[in-house]
Structures are given as structure tokens and as C-alpha cells.
Amino acid sequence: MFKLGLIVNPIAGMGGSVGLKGTDGTETLQMALQRGAVPSSPKRAAFVLEKLSSISDKFQLITCPGIMGEDIAKKCDIACEVLKMDVTDNTKPDHTRQAAGMLLQENVNLLLFVGGDGTARDLAAVVGEKHLCLGVPAGVKIHSSVFALSPSYAAEITGGLIRGRKARSRLAEVMDIDEDAFRAGEVKASLFGYLLVPGVERGLQVLKAGSPASESVRQQAIASYFVEEMNNDYLYLVGPGTTTRELLRKIGCEGTLLGVDALKGDQLIGEDLNENECLALIESFSGSGIRIVVTPIGGQGFIFGRGNQQLSPRVISKVGRDGIMILSTPGKLQALQGRPFRLDTGDPILDIKLTGFYRVYTGYRESTYYRVEN
């Protein structure tokens, strides 16, 4: 019997309708409620459950008490098992994390969650990359690629999995936004982590990047090309991302998914380095060249500034424009729909200097030249 876990973040998405951007923090939530905001995520959760009600005999629903799931299941007339936790009307991120942990224990086949980037972040913190999850979008901040394009897509994917469709999964980025900056009108998302999500059905583009099978195989192909062209006398500072991780794996190392690792030949000579450690390495390096290897992060295609701030303006300046190597699967390029890669190093003058075309490695012996703009 398919075990479906469900977590509903009831306050996600309330801000948007009343002109607030997100509902993180109790103050903002209060403001939203004062402005007359109505929770939208329970409606979206209900939509999905209703679409699944025709196959309710094929799955067992395990969810949170009260407004975090149980109430919605009851309204949709779907039997459910309720997790033993306390949920008050004033739900907090802690509740999401607690529920996630408990559903992990229950070994659910899919952890469906309804919310926004904040909810995704809470899940990533607990679940990590090991368990299949899927987000139903119900927040204003949807920058993570762990969400289906819409509640009906979420229902389609979930229904398929319940009916026995084999899930090919991939790691999808969980982003989070600098809240205050966002309210001030600036979008500054940052890579927080990754979740394992189910993939794309043929002919049905439900998640924004390409099909996961070809995505991960593509990443390996890029890694193969990189290794073929590598100079063993160079120092490579390898930024975060799943594409860059494949690169390290190809060489036989296991770097850090979210950190900057240093590579020379087939050895990792530094892991999860901060800015100063990067600079120190560069200073003391005696080989014939230094390279920075990055991959675009987040749906907006940022190659600097959205989760690899360790590669600071000082580090980049020391390496130089010509030392920047970009890896990107074609799926990520296509998702940009012709828009350029972006950068936000933190130094606006450096950003301007770095704009222009870069060679981007896209597959085995395949590359393109793509624009980077500030």
C-alpha cells in the first residue's frame, strides 16, 4: 500500500493576497491577518486530495493534526492516520520540521507538502536528500524547483506514483530569500539545500528543468568532458551544485554539495572553504593556473551570488575573468528561455567587468557560448 505523507503549512501564501511578501515571522503574519488575509494553502491541499479521492483505496494517508492536514482530509472524505504531535492554531516552522521527522520514521513513499520556499527549507533541514518529496505551490515565494508547476500537476504526479509509476528522481534546489531585502523590493535568493523530487513524465513538463534521467546523465557527461580537458597542474575552486558535485565524483572525490571545494589533479586539497581559506590557497599555490568552476543556481540562472558567496569579489579578482569556467545542463539553459546568466558578486563594479560571453560546458564534448549579465 502506497504511504502518502502530507504536511500543510496553513499560513503559507497569505501575505501575497494582501500585498505582503511572505509570512515568515510572527509579526508579518499578524500584519497579514490584520489586513484580512485568508489562508490559501488549505484550499490547494484540498484540491490535490480531491483529485486523488478516486484512488483513495490505493494509498494510506498519514498527516498532521488539525489545520496542518487532518481537517482537510476530513473535508475531502479521505481516511487518514494522524501523527502524534501538538498543533495549535498558531503553527510555526518547528511544527513542519517535527512532522517531517515523524513522516520519515513512518517511511512514507512520498512526502507531499503544501507551502512555499520557507516550508521547503524546513523540510530540507530535516529530510535532506534521501527521501522523495514533492511541493504543492501555495506560497508567494516559489523560487525552489522542488514544487510542481501547479496543484493539478502535483495531483497528476502524485496520482501516477500511487498507481505504481516508477519514480525517477532528481535533486532539486531549495532556495530561500533574504526576507528584508525582498520586502524592500530586492530579490536575493540563496541556495539553501536540496530535496529529492520525482521527475518529469514524457510529454509532461511538470518541473521546470529537463527530465531527471537525462539531467543526471547529462551532468555525468559534462563531468566526463571536464575531466578530459582538465589540466593536472591547475587549482580548481569548485562551487556548490549538483553538476559540480558530479565532476568531483568523476574524479573519485566526494566534495560538499553546498560548499566550495579545492581540486588539484585527482586530489581534494580543501573542502567547504570560506573566503579566507580560498584566498590563502590561491596565495600559496605554485601551479600554472587557477580556475573557478561554477554552475548556475536558482531559477534565475545566477552563477555568482546565490549560494556561493565564498567565491567573493576578492577571490574572483585574483583568479580573473578568464579563469571562470561555467558548467550547465541544457535543461537549465532552456529554462532561462533566452534570458542570460546573472551575477551578483557583491561588488557592482566587478559585476560590470564580468559581463559578457562565457564558454559553458553542456555535455560530453559539447558546449555553448552564453551571455552573463549583472
Binding site: S211, A213, S214, V217, R218, A221, G363, Y364
Partner: protein
């Protein structure tokens, strides 16, 4: 504004219709659509082409006036083989592949084009039985392409970059293979026994090692003899982790054991003998057969059709593992997919269905017995060395004319004067065989035909 040119093939060539449509678009002249093409790139005037025959009766007369300069193998008596063979083409094969439903279809879905998917699934399924394998592809361009692709597949599967190929391989096929494998893969040729033609097993065992991805041979050989060392060749290949790739003649597999029975991992060849006219070498289709393991299936660059259920319990079909073909997914480019030979695949399916198990057995018997009868008859002619190479034969064999003092080309000229196309002249492609010719006998060569030919040949040699 151009002079109107109205033509039966161009419904909207009438100026009135064009005016109507242009009005709908809001444009005054068709030339406006080409305004985006700069003058430097515009071709001025009309193309340099002959005056057309606009009426069908004139066109027919003109084209037949040229076609009638041909004399086909069917009008003569032909013993030509060499990879393209004259077998009987059943009337029903022509009937089905001239049906416009199949002839003019292309890339529709497995709904409105269900017929083609089912016909091709049935073709691959029947070939699978003939080859005794689990997977067969939708046809590629021809046997040589199939061989070249099979060798690249083997290298991808074993992750190696060298292949061993026996040097009796058909010269043109070897050229295709070498071209296709260059530059990423190395082709090493090994020798054969000059008397019985078989692959030099000792040389093979000597040079095969862990750098070899595939060992390739042909059975029956291009030179007509049956390679009887299949088991041992496979053993040598497998002992080093290499795959065995065998090129075969599907018309022989009703009587000869299929390559999978003596260790072949990949079986390839051309379906031309299965109901396809020769078309001067323009009617060909390549097949690759393999076991059903995923590691083989993932390496096919061709389309593979699978069977699937529909919402209403019917037989449905579709492409298996489609993404395998759309991207160069793995390190090594998974070659390419293009428009190849689907109609011939359907035709071969019709042929196999008509023949059935007994028909294929009888076809094989006809070929073997007629060829071997011809060998015996020709062996009794003075100054001929028959067979010139090899011990056991399917439908072809080499005849050596050195001791007659005559050249094959002269003998063939004399035969042609008598309405006979003699065997293919091997003297330039296999100089070590001297003045030799490759003779082919199939089910179309009756006792009478063979006897009369022998008599003519005897008389020519006396001149």
C-alpha cells in the same frame, strides 16, 4: 508579378486563389515574403534546368526512353551476389509496400499511425525468432551501417576502443566500418586460412586482450563459405571480456544455425533478401539483434518499438526508452537516428510471415543444394578451380580461372553476349585470389538454368 504557372501538383498555383489568400494575409505579392533575403543571396533569373514535360504522357515517354536502356538481371540470367542477392520477391510484398497508407506515412503517433507501429513491431519480433535473440531494432540504412553501429555499441558496452575484424570481410563493408569507427576506435584486421577461408584462430587468440571491445566475422562469409569456428571465436573473445559481433545472411537462417547459438552477442546483417527488390543496390535495410539485457538496449541508436496496454484493452505500441535516442546521453555519442528503411522492415515482415518456418527452411535448402550442385558441376570443368577457397558453402562460392589463361572480365563479356551475367569479378578487390569470380545460386536458379550455364561456360572456355 510573375507569369502564372499552374500545375496539377500545386493546387494554389492559380493566381485568383493566390490573390484571395494574399488579401487574407494583408500582403500584395508573394515576393514580399522573400524580402528578408538580401539581394546578394538572391538567385537571379530561373535555375538552369531542362524544359519540363508538363503532361504525364510526355513525362512517361521521356523517362521510359531512358529506363529502357537498362537490361535487368531478371531479363538475363544472373549469378551475381556479393551482398545483394537475387531472390524471389513475393507479389504480396510488393502489394503491401506499394500501399499508399504505408508508402506515404512518416512520423505520426501510435494512434493514427498504429498500423506502422504494429507492422514494425511484428517485423522485429519475427526477426527475433529468426535470429534467436530478444531484441531487434527498427531497420537502419543497410547491413554495413548495422555492422558499424554494432561494433560501436560493443565498444560502448565494454568501454573499450579497439575491434578485431577478419580480413575476408566484404571490402565495401570494411570501408564503411573503418570510416564509421574513425577516429575514436581502432580497427585491427586479422587473417584467414588461404585454403579453407576460415578466420585465423591462432592469430586471434594471440592478439585478443582486454583492450578489445569486439571480435567481428561474417557467416556466411562475403566469399561464400561457412565459418565453422564460431564457438571457438566467441570463446576467445569472451575470455578477454570482448563481445562477439557476427554479420549474417537472414535468408540462410532457416537452415543455418543463427549466430546467437555459437556465442554471438550482437548479430547484424541486411534484410534485402527478405522480399526487397535489388534496385541496383538501392533496396537495403540493416538489422542488429541482441539479448534483452538493459545494457544492450540502452546502447541502440535506433528506434525500438515496444508493446503497451491502452485504456481500452487494445494492443498499443510506442518508442522504448526514447530519451536514449534524443540526446547524446552518455560519454560516447550514442550515434544518431534518422530516416532509414522502415518500409523495407515492414516488407521483410510480410516476407517472413509468408514464408513461415517451413518456407525459410526450404529457402535455405534450395540455396545450399543448388549452390553445391553448381560447385560439383563447375568443378568438373577443365582448368577451373572450384571452390577456390572454403570448404562448406551456403549460396555463394569463389571460382578461380587462372589456369584457363583468360581474365574474368573477358569471360564475363562473352557470357553477357549470351545473355548471362557471370559472377562478380574479385581480381581487383582480392588480388590474392587471382582471376576469380564470386558466383551466387539461389532458389531462382533452376536445374535447367544451371546446366545451360555450365554448357555455355564450357563453350566459352574452349574459344
Amino acid at each position: 508579378m510573375k507569369e502564372p504557372f499552374i500545375h496539377p501538383y500545386i493546387p494554389n498555383s492559380d493566381p485568383e486563389i493566390q490573390k484571395e489568400m494574399l488579401k487574407d494575409i494583408g500582403v500584395t505579392d508573394i515576393d514580399d515574403f522573400f524580402a528578408c533575403i538580401p539581394d546578394a543571396q538572391r538567385y537571379q533569373g530561373l535555375l538552369d534546368l531542362p524544359k519540363p514535360y508538363l503532361s504525364e504522357v510526355e513525362l512517361k515517354k521521356h523517362v521510359y526512353s531512358i529506363i529502357n536502356k537498362n537490361t535487368s538481371a531478371e531479363e538475363l540470367v544472373s549469378f551475381l551476389g556479393g551482398g545483394c542477392w537475387q531472390h524471389h520477391v513475393p507479389a504480396i510484398c510488393d502489394e503491401i509496400n506499394s500501399r499508399s497508407e504505408f508508402l506515404t506515412a512518416y512520423a505520426g503517433e501510435p494512434y493514427e499511425d498504429h498500423g506502422r507501429f504494429q507492422a514494425l513491431f511484428e517485423y522485429t519480433s519475427m526477426m527475433a525468432e529468426l535470429l534467436d535473440v530478444d531484441v531487434v531494432n527498427v531497420p537502419t540504412y543497410d547491413g554495413s551501417q548495422a555492422a558499424a553501429t554494432a561494433l560501436r555499441m560493443a565498444c560502448r558496452i565494454t568501454n573499450r576502443s579497439r575491434v578485431i575484424v577478419v580480413n575476408t570481410t566484404a571490402p565495401d563493408r570494411l570501408s564503411v566500418i573503418k570510416g564509421y569507427l574513425y577516429p575514436d576506435f581502432e580497427v585491427i584486421e586479422i587473417g584467414h586460412d588461404p585454403i579453407i577461408g576460415l578466420l585465423d584462430l591462432a592469430e586471434l587468440e594471440n592478439i585478443v586482450d582486454e583492450t578489445i571491445g569486439a571480435v567481428y566475422f561474417e557467416n556466411p562469409s562475403y566469399l561464400g563459405f561457412i565459418e565453422t569456428q564460431g564457438q571457438m571465436i566467441s570463446k576467445a573473445a569472451h575470455s578477454c571480456g570482448a563481445l562477439t559481433v557476427v554479420y549474417t545472411d537472414p535468408s540462410s537462417l532457416g537452415i543455418l544455425a543463427p549466430p546467437s547459438s555459437y556465442g554471438a552477442d550482437l548479430t547484424c546483417g541486411d534484410i534485402q533478401p527478405l522480399g526487397i527488390h535489388m534496385f541496383m543496390g538501392g533496396g537495403r535495410g540493416g538489422f542488429i539483434g541482441s539479448p534483452g539485457d538493459e545494457k544492450f538496449i540502452q546502447e541502440y541508436p535506433s528506434r525500438l518499438f515496444g508493446i503497451a496496454p491502452t485504456t481500452h484493452g487494445e494492443w498499443g505500441f510506442g518508442d522504448v526508452a526514447w530519451e536514449r535516442t534524443s540526446f547524446a546521453n552518455r560519454e560516447d555519442a550514442k550515434e544518431f537516428v534518422g530516416t532509414a528503411a522502415a518500409l523495407w522492415g515492414i516488407t521483410a515482415g510480410v516476407y517472413l510471415a509468408l514464408m513461415g518456418p517451413k518456407g525459410m527452411r526450404e529457402l535455405g535448402e534450395n540455396c545450399i543444394k543448388r549452390a553445391n550442385y553448381a560447385i560439383k558441376k563447375m568443378a568438373s570443368i577443365d582448368n577451373l578451380k572450384v571452390p577456390a577457397i572454403g570448404k562448406y558453402f551456403y549460396k555463394e562460392f569463389v571460382v578461380n580461372f587462372d589456369e584457363t589463361g583468360k581474365k574474368v572480365s573477358d569471360i564475363n563479356d562473352r557470357l553477357l553476349e549470351r545473355g548471362i551475367l557471370g559472377g562478380h569479378d574479385l581480381s581487383s578487390s582480392y588480388p590474392q585470389l587471382g582471376q576469380s569470380a564470386l558466383y551466387c545460386f539461389t532458389e531462382i536458379h533452376s536445374l535447367d538454368t544451371i546446366d545451360r550455364f555450365v554448357a555455355e561456360l564450357v563453350s566459352i572456355l574452349k574459344e
